[in-house]
Amino acid sequence: MTDIDDEVLRAQHVLEFPYKRSLGPVIGAFSTGLRDGHLLGARTRAGRVVFPPTEYDPDTGEDTDGDLVEVGPSGVVRSWAWTDRPRPDQPLDRPFAWALVQPDGADTSMLHVLDAGSPDSCYSGMRVTARFRPFAERVGSVRDIEAFVPEDAT
């Protein structure tokens, strides 16, 4: 403690709450699909498939089609960023890549992580596939996908 710290009182402050979020029809259907091992996207009026799906076209705000369409589970890495130092609560506790993954059949990408062992094996355009948690552990969260993994590793 320095002199300055002696003058000014400090304390740890914890801001904590167990938020419970209602999902509505589109995110709810996506989450149900995830829990059951499927990746679902939403079709816009212009015919694009938004993944993960939203109630709205991400560019125009127009409603998307309520009936979701299955995409993936394999797809393409659109961008990636390697970290050697995972932080608390991040999906993996060993070195991994953050990635934007565009599943086959979708026109947009999802933020998730790539469990690829080493940055040397990562590149934009690489084929990957979703590795789900065991069914019993799945709750309908994006974390039901443990990670994406190189397709050729499966």
Partner: protein
């Protein structure tokens, strides 16, 4: 609204920045709380134009409760102004640059002639890497707890993949900004002293492809600006920095639905501010709110500024890469740019502010020493 019959001319009266002040941008402000940081800044910004709080027709501030960890944190900050008698006052949960935008609309509407804009943000008390994850879609992205450096790294990778820039280009941006920051007495963020690109490229990755020199320091700060309209601005300041264009635009949220290597919202905002079609390249000075080195390159491309040409003095303050007080750094960009018009070292200036992950929202402000010198809104 009151004098509608008199003022409905269709002509908008000009509004100018007449004063700017900022606290030291420090790595960690332990001693003073938000109010105590703001007090001397508000006092200075008013004092520079011989005003008191009672001369201000409107007050608008920008801040974020999540940086403080307390709801309604802006309420206590009002004490630094002394809002008595009651003031006409408003607050945005955004960077102070957007508070300035709100104040600008009030002055344009003719409801009053002067406005105080201030903002404050201390990043050091919080776990910033976690706090900023809460800016993301709460269903799809926030539950993964991505840190801001990871998101910026995805953007930097996209930029590299696009072929528009290299890691060496990032380092060159950092080198220039760091050198400039050495001359800025308000930057006290304890950055390394070296500016050699080669040395920067020897740093280990934080999140590849980003190394420490491409990432902003945790910064605590506060800033304030005084705006004035028409003749009142001329009374208060011999060479006001006239706001000849001001606009801001937002992009979609999902990172995977954006082209992260470009900034279409900056381009649109620049057009709205009268700095489209290459006019941004004709300003004397540009202060760009690019917290990460690669973002300056993306912004320059969107604005049509060639960093290599040297025609535009880019981030003479050292930029947000060297001092990035959240909720403050955007307003500081406007203040720094305006300061150069006020002190006569620039005739035309561009200031930019950003909000959200990977430059999701962008504001462009065109400033000039002549109120007629703009085509913006």
């Amino acid at each position: 609204m009151t004098a509608r019959a008199d003022v409905r001319s269709g002509e908008q009266r000009p509004v100018a920045v007449v004063s700017f002040a900022q606290a030291d941008n420090s790595r960690r402000e332990v001693r003073r709380n938000e109010v105590e940081m703001l007090l001397p800044v508000v006092s200075e910004v008013l004092g520079r134009v011989g005003c008191t709080k009672d001369d201000m027709g409107f007050v608008c501030s920008g801040s974020s409760d999540y940086l403080v960890g307390a709801p309604f944190s802006f309420v206590a900050a009002l004490d630094s102004v002394g809002a008595w008698p009651p003031m006409r006052e408003s607050h945005v949960e955004m960077d102070g640059a957007f508070a300035l935008y709100e104040a600008w609309t009030v002055l344009r509407a003719g409801d009053c002639d002067t406005a105080l804009v201030y903002s404050f943000g201390r990043s050091s008390p919080s776990q910033l890497d976690r706090v900023l994850a809460l800016q993301l879609d709460p269903y799809y992205m926030a539950p993964l707890w991505p840190d801001p450096i990871a998101l910026a790294a995805l953007q930097a990778r996209a930029l590299i993949d696009s072929g528009k820039a290299t890691e060496g280009d990032f380092a060159a941006v950092a080198s220039r900004n760091r050198a400039a920051a050495r001359d800025n007495p308000k930057v006290k963020t304890e950055l390394p002293d070296y500016t050699a690109v080669s040395r920067m490229l020897e740093e280990e990755f934080l999140v590849a492809p980003l190394r420490p020199h491409t990432v902003p320091p945790i910064t605590d700060g506060a800033a304030a600006v005084v705006l004035a309209a028409g003749d009142r601005a001329r009374e208060m300041c011999s060479s006001p920095a006239w706001i000849v264009g001001l606009d801001h635009r937002i992009e979609t949220h999902a990172l995977g639905a954006r082209d992260l290597s470009a900034s279409p919202s900056t381009r649109l905002a620049a057009e709205g501010a009268g700095l489209g079609s290459g006019r941004a390249a004709e300003v004397d000075v540009a202060e760009l709110h690019a917290p990460f080195a690669h973002q300056e390159l993306i912004l320059c491309e969107a604005l049509g500024i060639d960093p290599a040409s040297g025609r535009v003095d880019l981030n003479p303050s050292g930029g947000a890469l060297c001092a990035n007080a959240l909720m403050v750094a955007g307003l500081v960009r406007i203040g720094e740019a305006a300061e150069r018009v006020i002190n006569g070292s620039a005739q035309r200036a561009l200031a930019h502010a950003t909000s959200g992950p990977c430059l999701q929202q962008n504001l462009v402000c065109a400033l000039a020493d002549d109120p007629g010198d703009g085509e913006g809104s």
